[in-house]
Symmetry: C2
Subunit: 369 residues, 2 copies
């Protein structure tokens, strides 16, 4: 395998081709004591190219940032078949415009990435895992805000709403009391010697009014058991409904309760089952509408519900996608988020990279006039 | 003062107008227990607009990143007088292209920034300051690489070469032995309880072959005294030469010794006094050519020396500017770093923002054909 071209620990960087999977990359880096922070749930199959094209970051972004904060430079080929080189081999650099971040998240519509220079982070020595349960989503959201307002930033701050917990109850052997309306999975990493104190600080912040219980895993097996709750979600979703419409909206963390309350109202109004979980530390919530594609009436209600949900997200100063991207599905909603002038400028930029419109045509941006 | 529009600790963000100085901003944020990592030496007079336009980050970038990693969104006005909105209010977001980072570092040539949404970081509880001295630059550079290869990233990793130390000797009352060829100022921050251990880990990494002494400040006064060495440099430079040509090249940290050796050879060859110091953790070295503008022969030699120095930086996979920008002075060197295809694309992008070429015309990029 030649897809990992160079790992350079002294300079904290790696040169990588886009075909390597995130998991292959992490395994190779771990041998040198490093990792690359972006870590989508699909790491086993997600190639670096896909990772870069969608700026997909996963749970660790709350502490370590997204792909944009962890990539130094790129090689790519434009729609004219010409190779360009963006960025630098260093952590500072201001010569020319920043084409690196422009390409990251552009869904393959500007150029095809052929090589990336990644910024590496040393592996933390140790990690602690907490599961905190709350009476309702408002209490859990208050805990998220309190955690983010103190200096110890957790390396994962994952959230499940009441509907998610109900769903997982049958698939998980963890004792979760009735009357739990929300759950947080919290991880804190760092050097072993300070970690119990750091974890205690995060735990204290998480202990807001409405907390039911905070449990700290004491063994590797207990960590695995705690994550089992979270990981049981996807298979559970597949069992209870033939299809899930899976969104990944983002709102400022303090507005998560308004988002979830609003979604509950929409679920009621449109009679659609909605399950919410995701990366609370970034305000990045996976909103899952559970539907039956063979029921045209339900599909119609789901479409209207989704449209209202997007309006709600934007009213809360959020964005329609944190890391799943726009593609075709969300394309026609983009002009609710981005104003016409800015959108026209994006089309103008696109035309400079790909004047013949051959790179992922029609994706990412709504059609221009 | 209305320039700080909003400080929102729960969401770790601030909305700010570009006229506020970095220092005013930091003071306002500190009241809420936060800071904004970019911290140029000119913080007292550097406005946020200038900070954003040059992606200027200063010493803390080694741990906390540059402006690009600490800005969520922007409002700006293009050369057509139209307002655009770039980015989001959240730490994840992939709808549309990343115009935020495209504008950051573009030296005012694409649009005039009118408002920024900044990502805030909680103030660390405490800080430790070390001064490490080395026999030569090779030993100091080995220490920098060793420090960056272990998991505790210092929040400052500043460097002075032998010529800088000689210069400062007369202006500083610190006992610096003869035979010291390089000096590092190292700061480690974090929670108080783990900080002595973290600092010890960094100190151990800094203790490479060729170390002369590592001194840890024990009081605030000692911290101030240690920084005095570093801060004595600028006034000293002004005293010994009528003019300094001040560059801020960047190379991968492991290549700092090659850069410094090469610069020593060029200083000898062109008979120009060169003094080097800067942000070693980012490989961002301030190269100062000390010259007399009234000596045309010296000015000519300095110009040739500088040209060779830029070639050296690029041969070492570096970049011509880390945070001072290109402007007019370095404009004609840009095509040594950026290939013609990429440069043409940058011009094409510029034309979309400013078709009439009224925003800082002629700056940043060499004239196109």
């Amino acid at each position: 395998m030649t897809q990992i071209l160079e790992i350079d620990p002294a300079n904290r960087l790696a040169r990588v081709e886009p075909g390597v999977t995130n998991q292959q990359l992490q395994l190779a880096l771990a041998e040198h004591g490093f990792f690359w922070p972006p870590d989508p749930s699909s790491a086993a199959v997600c190639t670096l190219g896909g990772n870069l094209a969608y700026n997909s970051a996963g749970p660790r972004a709350v502490k370590y940032g997204t792909v944009r904060e962890n990539t130094l430079g790129l090689r790519a080929v434009t729609g004219l078949g010409e190779e360009i080189r963006a960025g630098v081999m260093t952590t500072k650099g201001v010569v020319g415009y920043d084409l690196t971040r422009l390409l990251i998240g552009s869904e393959g519509t500007l150029a095809i990435i052929t090589e990336a220079i990644l910024k590496l982070t040393p592996l933390p020595e140790a990690k602690r895992t907490l599961r905190a349960t709350y009476r309702d989503i408002h209490a859990a959201a208050a805990a998220v805000s309190a955690i983010m307002a103190q200096p110890i930033t957790p390396c994962a701050l994952e959230f499940m709403d009441g509907a998610s917990i109900e769903m997982v109850r049958d698939f998980s052997d963890l004792q979760l009391d009735d009357g739990i309306g929300a759950l947080l999975m919290i991880e804190v990493d760092g050097p072993e010697y300070g970690l119990d104190r750091s974890t205690a600080a995060v735990e204290q912040a998480a202990r807001v009014e409405g907390v039911v219980d905070i449990y700290r895993a004491k063994t590797k097996e207990e960590v695995a058991a705690l994550w089992k709750t979270r990981k049981a979600l996807s298979p559970a979703l597949r069992t209870v409904a033939p299809k899930k419409i899976n969104e990944d909206v983002v709102v400022p963390v303090s507005r998560i309760p308004m988002l979830i309350s609003g979604l509950e109202q929409l679920a009621e109004q449109y009679q659609i089952r909605i399950v919410n979980f995701g990366h609370a530390g970034n305000g990045n919530i996976h909103v899952n509408l559970l539907v039956n594609p063979d029921d045209p009436d339900e599909m119609q209600r789901a479409a209207e519900c989704l449209s209202d949900a997007f309006d709600l997200v934007l009213k809360l100063d959020g964005t329609l996608s944190g890391e799943h991207g726009v593609g075709l599905e969300k394309r026609d909603f983009v002009n609710r988020e981005i104003d016409p002038v800015t959108l026209r400028l994006m089309h103008d930029i696109r035309r400079q990279f790909d004047p013949n419109n051959i790179l992922n045509p029609g994706k990412g941006l709504p059609e221009s006039d």
